[in-house]
């Protein structure tokens, strides 16, 4: 019966081209607008590392206390990064996989003396970073824990940087001149662009990874200044030493906890650490800590910016209006076909048969509308790419799942729009229609 209704639908739509075109256009427009925004929204809202979401954690410590009022705007007012004192303590105390990191800039002097030095973005981190976040390598691998301990001058670079500086060859073991010092290349990353940059949401949420990664301990030694976001409260003191001692928070901290008991014990450890800080006078308030896994962290950080939410509301309201429109058109069509429906009922069609026929017709309109909508979404995304900043540009691309959602949305919307007209059609009394002849 499905095939039958499908063919009937096609035939009926072909018969009244104008009406069909209008219905498809209206649904297409609504789908186009909403899918444009939804594509971007989904790209922003996605979990880039779902397979490890519940094993990667961010610890937070209230190191400012209740009388500091310059709080970040998140739901519990806890700092999103750690201070140097706390980060070092945490690193020292835990034995599992963990990393403390921050981003900085440096000047890279290419081996070719003809080329001018240029700025590179650097991520100072620990060796565990690569394993924790499953970062793919093209050549070589990360440095190891010994390098962390010995503050070695070793680095991992991205594929683009490798192409630019070394011509794309396997540069493992070669030397990189950064900020006037030499670093040994231990590995070259393959393409890796988690969206969003979950490991550092303070700045540049949808951008690329830093060009160079090197040991955190080395960066501290060389006094590489923080380039990302940095929040200070109260006295900062002078110089690099003062900065490290201060309660400025500028370090992103992640720890991998493979099972529930580890999570529980880490939580306990955090609390006892904060309590200890209180005891030794560093904190003057009740300890407040938090431990969130990656998924929770993403939702806590509210990655999707408010304007995108507003655009989503606007475009889905537009879709709603389009559907109401489509419903009106479908109703007009059904009522115009009252005679046909009456005949079918007379010939033995049950109400359910009429329902099926009408809804399948709505579904076919939905499919056509979905295709038009897909086209319009493509155009819409081109528009977005030309209107907004770089970070939007990288997000505004259709992938297969977006395609699927587009078609599904279109078919479901069309069927919803068709519900009332279909109901009217099934309620038609066959006798009345035939008497009117």
């Amino acid at each position: 019966m499905f095939n039958y209704y499908f063919r009937l639908a096609l035939r009926s739509l072909r018969r009244n081209v104008v009406l069909t075109v209008l219905m498809v256009a209206v649904i297409g427009a609504g789908i186009g607008a909403s899918m444009t925004v939804l594509t971007i929204y989904r790209a922003m809202d996605g979990d880039p590392i779902p397979q490890k979401s519940d094993r990667l954690f961010v610890p937070q410590i209230d190191n400012w206390g209740p009388d500091m009022e310059e709080r970040p705007a998140n739901s519990d007012g806890l700092p999103e990064q750690l201070s140097y004192t706390d980060a070092s303590a945490l690193i020292a105390a835990h034995t599992g996989r963990q990393t403390a990191m921050y981003s900085t800039v440096s000047a890279l002097t290419p081996p070719n003396p003809q080329l001018l030095p240029f700025t590179v973005h650097v991520r100072a981190t620990y060796a565990d970073f690569f394993a924790m976040f499953q970062v793919p390598f093209k050549y070589g691998g990360p440095w190891n824990t010994t390098d962390d301990h010995s503050h070695s001058a070793v680095a991992v670079i991205t594929r683009e940087l490798n192409d630019k500086v070394f011509g794309g060859v396997n540069s493992v073991g070669r030397t990189l001149r950064l900020g006037g010092d030499d670093y040994r290349v231990s590995g070259v990353l393959d393409d890796w662009k988690p969206t969003p940059r979950f490991f550092d949401l303070a700045d540049n949420r949808f951008g690329k990874t830093e060009d160079v990664l090197l040991p955190f301990t080395r960066a501290i030694d060389k006094q590489m200044t923080v380039w990302g976001n940095d929040f200070c409260n109260g006295d900062v003191g002078t110089g690099w030493a003062g900065y490290l001692r201060s309660n400025c928070v500028w370090i992103q901290f992640w720890v991998e906890l493979p099972n529930a008991s580890e999570v529980a014990s880490y939580r306990a450890f955090l609390n006892s650490y904060a309590a200890e800080q209180r005891r030794n006078g560093r904190f003057h308030w009740a300890p407040r800590t938090q431990l969130r896994n990656e998924r929770q962290w993403l939702s806590y950080e509210q990655v999707v910016p408010p304007p995108v939410h507003v655009m989503a509301i606007v475009s889905f309201s537009f879709l709603f209006v389009c559907l109401v429109n489509a419903m009106g058109l479908m109703l007009a069509k059904m009522l115009g076909r009252a005679a046909d429906i009456g005949v079918r009922r007379a010939l033995g069609a049950t109400r359910r048969a009429i329902l099926a026929q009408c809804l399948i017709e709505a579904g076919v309109i939905g499919i056509a509308g979905g295709l038009v909508g897909l086209l319009l979404t493509g155009l819409g995304l081109i528009g977005v790419r030309s209107l907004f900043t770089q970070q939007f540009i990288d997000l505004a691309h259709l992938d297969l799942s977006d395609l699927g959602i587009c078609m599904l949305l279109a078919v479901v919307s069309a069927i919803i729009a068709g519900l009332y007209p279909t109901w009217r059609a099934t309620q038609m009394q066959p006798a009345l229609q035939l008497k009117a002849q």
Binding site: A339, D340, V343, R344, A346, G348, A349, T350, R352, Q429
Partner: protein, 235 residues
């Protein structure tokens, strides 16, 4: 086959209650060809819609092929209509979107026959009405008489127990009308049970017997000799 006893159908508005049929009884046996006549507004169309299970009735009893129809829900009535009744309407009521073959196919689809069965029945009923060659044509491409014959084929395809015809020649010219009536008579000779509603006495005469309705009630003329001189009608 079709037995109505003390059937009534009332239409209620806010103020008034009108009876389209009142204490109406009729018994059509298998194989009979009955004409139902009456002036306009007499209730014969209502009788037809009730007989065809297209409408519900207020009081009385209706038995179709031995089954009591009262209290059946919409789905059950649809199925009964589909299996037991073949309609022939004044306005043909073919679906203009579909060609001849697909038009006849419609009730067969609802019956649930498989593809082969449906094709066989369509073939047979088209041959019966003599229009096999027109299978792929659309209603708009056929003459009135041909359209009505397709409608008859559609009515026959499901091998119904009862044929209900409503002014079958009302929209046809004399020549086509004759052709259609000859077909109907032929069907009767082959054993079909036919109830034909008409206001045309000429047509009524060709049936076995006539049931006359006035103001919703029967005036049964039965098998009595005609009171109307046939010759006079030709003047």
């Amino acid at each position: 086959m079709l037995k109505m006893t003390h059937l009534s159908k009332a239409y209620r508005t806010e103020v008034v209650e009108t009876y389209a049929l009142r204490d109406f009884s009729i018994h059509v046996r298998e194989g009979e060809f009955v004409a139902v006549t009456g002036p306009s507004g007499s209730g014969k169309t209502t009788f037809l819609t009730i007989a065809g299970l297209l409408e519900e009735f207020s009081g009385g009893e209706y038995q179709l092929d031995g089954a009591n129809v009262r209290g059946l829900n919409d789905n059950q009535r649809s199925r009964l209509r589909n299996e037991k009744i073949g309609f022939i309407f004044q306005a043909f009521n073919l679906i203009s979107d579909l060609n001849v073959q697909d038009n006849i196919d419609v009730p067969l689809r609802y019956r649930g026959f498989n593809g082969a069965e449906r094709r066989r029945r369509i073939q047979e009923s088209l041959e019966r009405v003599g229009l096999s060659a027109r299978m792929r044509h659309y209603p708009a491409e056929l003459s009135g008489g041909q359209q009505q014959r397709v409608a008859i084929a559609r009515a026959l395809a499901g091998t119904p127990r009862l044929l209900l015809a409503d002014e079958p020649t009302g929209n046809l010219d004399t020549q086509m009308a004759r052709g259609v009536m000859e077909l109907i008579e032929e069907l009767h000779r082959d054993g079909a049970t036919i109830v034909m509603v008409t206001h045309d006495p000429e047509l009524a005469v060709r049936a076995q017997r006539e049931v006359h309705i006035v103001d919703g009630q029967v005036v049964d003329l039965g098998a009595q000799p005609r009171l109307v001189d046939r010759a006079q009608l030709h003047l």
